[in-house]
Symmetry: C2
Subunit: 204 residues, 2 copies
DNA sequence: TAGCACACGTGATCC
DNA sequence: TGGATCACGTGTGCT
């Protein structure tokens, strides 16, 4: 039981090029089938062989869809090393793992912050939409208890700021990297927020 | 040419369970091969059929590796809808696309910031290691020109801070969401950084 | 029942 | 050359 026909099969360099030509080949196959009447339902011994041909074309479409998905996955993942099917999936896994490690790292640092002397949800209201935050700051399963400090009109005055970087992240959110002097604090609440920066501060 | 033997093949509910039992089945196959001498190199017409058997076991390992990779990919992607091979890859693509959309959104807002009245790299030195930043803030292809404001020991004094959230992100970086009064500014440099917050400020 | 999803063996290709 | 990869048709189980 060899494959039914191998007429005019030309093999290409690699599987993606093959997949590209597979579409037209599929159409020509359909035309061929309709022309010669192979495995037609009106042909003798129709039921069994018709089911077999249906299985063939169905399996062919399944393979084609899977290859297209794999091709799209490769296009989405940066730094693809090899064109291999297994390597494509491996690179995708590593890429997602890298993002997850970053997220887990941030989450761990957030919980470490929570375990400290911080009071959470002191203000009591939440301005953010949870879905609008950057993904790395979101929790997958549960709602994040954001650190929230509401000063209610109190002032932070005379903070010695040695260095400041600002990146606009939208949603009324700024990514601020600041370096400040550990001395010269007036507000207890402010001291909490700034002590964290002080632990990894270059200037003491 | 049907498959050589189908002895004792029990099919399981789904392909992952199948894959789990595939490992032991492989070992038992190897034992079976060594026992009955199927496709042994010392058998008559050794060269050609030996290559064929080598191809069989090689292909078997390739399939096994590909399934393991696919299994690992499914474990890494959250919210897997179906157990399908194609669906697993599709969900992985959608997940990575979601992360990329978030990154692109942030990048667009950063470049929108750059096109404004900001001066960039005013300080001139960079404390960060580029690889240590959270992934969503990194650029894939080129180095990010971070907004950088160095005040060189100047003070920000008497800023009326109405609201402040602080999230520790490590690497001497804080995610600070602040709301301040538009009035009461003293420093021109400070005005740049805070005006951005003011554009989407709830309190004017 | 028909249809779908899978693993398998096999021949061909490329390096 | 041989080892690795691929697409294909086929048999089978599950729904």
């Amino acid at each position: 039981m060899e494959p039914i026909e191998n007429i005019g099969e030309e093999y290409q360099n690699y599987w993606e090029t093959k997949m590209f030509l597979q579409n037209e080949e599929l159409d020509s196959w359909a035309i061929d089938e309709a022309f010669s009447g192979y495995y037609d339902s009106s042909s003798p011994d129709g039921a069994a062989s018709s089911a077999a041909s249906k299985n063939i074309v169905s399996e062919r479409n399944r393979r084609k869809k899977l290859n297209e998905r794999l091709f799209a996955l490769r296009a989405v993942v940066p730094n693809i090393s090899k064109m291999d099917k297994a390597s494509i999936i491996k690179d995708a896994i590593d890429y997602i793992q890298e993002l997850h490690d970053q997220e887990r790292k941030i989450q761990a640092e957030l919980t470490e912050l929570e375990s400290g002397k911080m009071k959470k949800n002191q203000g009591g209201f939440d301005v953010y939409d949870h879905q609008e935050l950057p993904v790395l700051l979101r929790s997958k399963k549960k709602k994040i208890d954001y650190q929230f400090y509401d000063f209610g009109g109190s002032k932070i005055s005379a903070i010695e700021l040695l260095e400041l970087r600002v990146n606009y992240m939208g949603e009324n959110t700024l990514l601020v990297s600041l370096t400040c002097n550990k001395e010269n604090r007036h507000d207890g609440e402010t001291l909490r927020g700034l002590r964290i920066s002080g632990t990894q501060n270059y200037y003491s």
